[in-house]
Every structure is written in structure tokens, then in C-alpha cells.
Amino acid sequence: MAGKAEPGATRNAYGAALVELGEAHEDVVALDADLSVSTQSAKFGAAFPERFFNVGAAEANMMSMACGLAATGKRPYASTFAIFATGRAYDQIRLGIAHNELPVKICASHGGVSLGEDGASHQMIEDIALMRVMPNMSVVVPADYNQAYRATIDSYESEEPQYLRFGRPATPVVYEDVPETLGTGVDVLREGSDISLIATGHMVWRALEAAESLEAEDGIEAEVVNVSIIKPIHSESILETLAKTGVAVTAEEHRVVGGLSDAVRQVAAEQHPVPIFAVGMGDEFGISGTGEACMEHFGLTARGIADRAREALLLKPIVSHPPLFGPDWTSAP
């Protein structure tokens, strides 16, 4: 499928893809909590008003309604900002959706600090952790418009509850076309043997930029890996890149606890311990500013990733050991 060739926001891809799903499948319904223009679910609402339910500022009600709709055979897509989806309505998602294993897709926009001006109250930096820790819930964070489009379309095929995180700002193109599939959810975007830069969401294009600067300035060959499915994470693909480079930096617009970094570290700790450093939010909340200024402020930049990579390389073990036991992952396809 021909994708978007210029920068676009992942939330816009969600809005467009949701309309396509609505056209293809009569059982698709959408809910929003008075943020449908921001989340882009309003496009679905305009196309299918009878299948669109704006609940107003009542996120808990929205999630439990989505449970009821799914239990009665519908395929609900529930959208609001990431903070309200996962923070306010955690218990409703937990019991009504995840515990029941219902095919509700929680499509949250404005994840991270890049939403900017609204500040800490709205900048959700714990959502990946919250959804990752919840049994039965899978977590998808697309890297650009085209991958977000694919993630939305493919979500219909899954009968499981899913959390999809979208963002506010336009994101440079990472995938030139809408990919055929998310595959394992782990894509090597650039090959390299010195260090792995493992990124998700808005940090993926920044990791690609970081790799270029590392090569240009220091001759470092960085491998760039996009993790779009953080849970369940595809261990073999992660082990493959860790084995190749022996050191990694993870990058996410999220707390460095509970998100991508921990997912990668968990795989490594069990099967191939190597130094893994994290770029992300420390033990602090966001602040107001333009989205880009916020990213700069917290070091969520290509520069931030490259600097961390240089530090990491100092600690890269001189001798790399293969895993002592575990699956024969090196020969995995």
C-alpha cells in the first residue's frame, strides 16, 4: 500500500485507518471521551454516526461501555489521551477488558511529553508500563504514520485486548510505505555491529539520526531497531541484535521504568546479559513548553541517544560471550 511520503502524526493515521476499518467491518464501533478531534476518532464519527459514541468527559464509563459492547459481539475502538485512558480508567480496563479477554482496542493518543504545552497533567509517561504489567494486554507503539496505519488495520485481526499508543506531533517518515505487516514487532532499520539502538515510537526516527551522527563523527556502526510491539516482545529478535553488538541503548518517550528499556533488559538478563542503557524519562514529571522543547529538555533527542551510546561503548565488554543456555536463537530466521 502506498503510504504517506511526508511527515504525519501517528494519531492521524489512526483516524484514517479507523474509517477504513469501519467501511470494511460492520461490527466496528468507536468511543471517545470528548477528545475525538484530537484523537482523530471524529473522522469515524462523521462517517458512521450511529456506530460512534462520544461519552463526554467520562473515561471510566467509556471503558466499561466498551466491555459491554464487546461482550455483545462488537469490536470497540476506545480513544482518549493516554493519561486518561490508562491512568483514570485502569480498573475498568483491567476487569472489564483485559480480564475478560475481550477484543477492545484502546487507542490512546498524546502519549509522552511531545504533546507539549498542556504540561505534566496531560503528559503520560507511565502508560506503557501500566498496560505492559496488565495480564492479557498487548502493547503496540508505532514509529510513524505509515506504521501506525498498519497497526490500526491489523488490530482488527486480533481477538485480544490491545493498547495502541499514538502521538500528537507530525513524525518524519520511517517507513516509506505502509508496511505489509508489523511482523514480529521488531524491525532492524539499519544494520551495524558496534552498538544496538533499540527505540520505539517517536524515538525511532531520532535513533536513526543518532546512528548517522555516530557514523559521521566517530565512525561507529550503530544498528537501529524499531520495537513496535513492546508486549509480547519478540525475544529472539532482541537477542539477535544484542548478540551481534554486545551493548545497547534503548530510547522511549516514557519512564525508563516499566517500558521498552525494562522489556529489553528482561530478555537480556535471562538469556544474554550485556550492558543496556536507557534514554527516557527519569523519576520526574513533564513540564509545559512546545513539544520539541519538552523533548529537548528531557534529552529525548538524537543527540541524547548518541551521547548515551558513546558512554555505553566505553562500558562494552571487550570479550562478548554467547549465551550459556537457552534456545538456539542465533539460527532463528
Partner: protein, 308 residues
Amino acid sequence: MSRLRSVPDPHPPSKELARGEIEPTIAELERWATVHRLDCVRMLAVAKSGHLDSSLSAADIVSALYNRVLRHDPENPAWHERDRFVLCKGHAAPIQYAALAHHGYFPHEDLQGLRKIGAPLQGHPDMNKTAGVEVSTGSLGQGLSMCVGIGLALRLDGLEDTAQVFGVLSDGDCQEGQTWEAATAAVHFGLRNITAIVDYNHLQTDGTTEQVMDIGDMRAKFEAFGWDSIQIDGHDMEAIVEALERSRTLDRPAAIIAQTKKGRGVSFMEGRFGFHGKPPSPEQAVEALEELEARLEEQTAALQQEAE
């Protein structure tokens, strides 16, 4: 302990009854309420855990629903055109389990396994483990929102006038803010296939609702939210059936505030504080069973006399 063994009622409901082809009398519904209460006492005495008094206060409402009002098919629980029953007050699970077993959704002996490891009957209703449970509940405040979602889905499927969603709420449900989000939404979306029955028994874990957090005039509150709202005696079977049947015919969501007594049917427990979430001791169980068995005997005899 054989007294604690749950056995199927020798006068069970027929399949025609579940399908609504036969209407049981008020006296039959009252008798089945006693049957369900007995099963609740036995279940809890064996489980040594659970919410007995909360189950007993809802027994008459549940008997009216499962044995007369609900259109359902125990042989085909997934029949799409059925009415839906949501136990918003999920802690009263035993009373729903008693009714489901009564209709053959699962073997009667499964009641013995309540809250036991590996058994299908969980502490709170679980849609994936127990046949006949529409949605899992147990976290107060979520149930009415689930009913709204179910009601909307049924409307999209063109079943709004035939399939009704009945939610049974507790006082605690009405203390949760989410219930009022749902009450607002049901009216906003113009649903007329929702019936909320509040099992208003005025007792909660820490004391009376008036002491802990007074929810006041529930009838007036639902009315103020735009619902058709009536108040009844939640142990008057005739009034319960009439209110439930009437709720199907309305052009608005319907609230039925059922004034009830917690522990109803077991004298030492009825309307008394201190039994929430506490299983009966062996002595209490025997006392409760004796009282309920005596009532059942009277009710059975009266029905037989009438038949002759």
C-alpha cells in the same frame, strides 16, 4: 455435612418457562427464592467464604428475573436475542450461581466448589469461567456502564425492543461516581432497553449506608438523571414482577429502587450489621437452613394443596 450438599430442586423450572412460554405464579417464584436462598447458605457454609447477606437481599429480585422475566435459553447461553442479566454487585455472586444452576447452566454439584481452587465458580462472576455470566463484575460502579454498552450493541443489532438489559446494583454501586456517568449516558443515548434494579439494603461493609456515606433518595436521584424511576418493596414478589415487566415497555431507561433487607429470610441476619463478607459459622448455617427449610416445606405444601 450432607445437609450442606446442594441438590437440585425436585420442582425445577421447565424449559418452556425459561423461554417465556409458561408463566409461573407469584407463589412459585417465592418458593424458588427460598430454594435459591437455601443454596446460598449451603454454598457459603461449604466455601467458608463469601457474601451471604448481600446474596439473600437480592434473592427475590433474582428469582423474579431468572424464573419469570428474563428471556433466556440455558441450552444455548449464547442465543443472541436473549435478555441480559448483569450482576453489578458482583459480590452477590452466590445468588446468581444458585439461579444459573437451577436452570441447568452448569451441574448443580458445581455449587459445592464455590471459591475453591480450580473450580468454575469464582468469588465474583467470571464470564469466561461460568456459563450464563454475561460480563465479569466485582469492582463496584462498573456494571451499569457495561449495561449501557450491551444496550447499545443490542440496539445496533435491531434488538432494542425485544432484548432488555437488567442490571442489579448495590448501595455501594451507587456510591461510585461511575454509576452516575452511566446513568447520564443511558439517557443521552436514548436507551430504552435498560433496567437498573437497586438492591437498596442500607448496609455496607463498615456500617449502615446512612452512617458511612448516605446515598439518600435513590428514586429521586435516578429521576433527576432522566430515568423512569420507581420505588418498591424488594421482597414483595408481585411488586417486583410488575415493576420488571413494566420496565420493558418504557421509552426511557428504568430504575427500580428495591427497598430490601440484607440477609432477608434468615432471622438472625436480617437487617443486621456485621455479616457483610462473613460466611456463616457451622451453627449459624444450621440455624439458617432450619428456618429456610421450614419455609420451603410450607411453600411446597401450599403449592401442592393449590394444585389439588
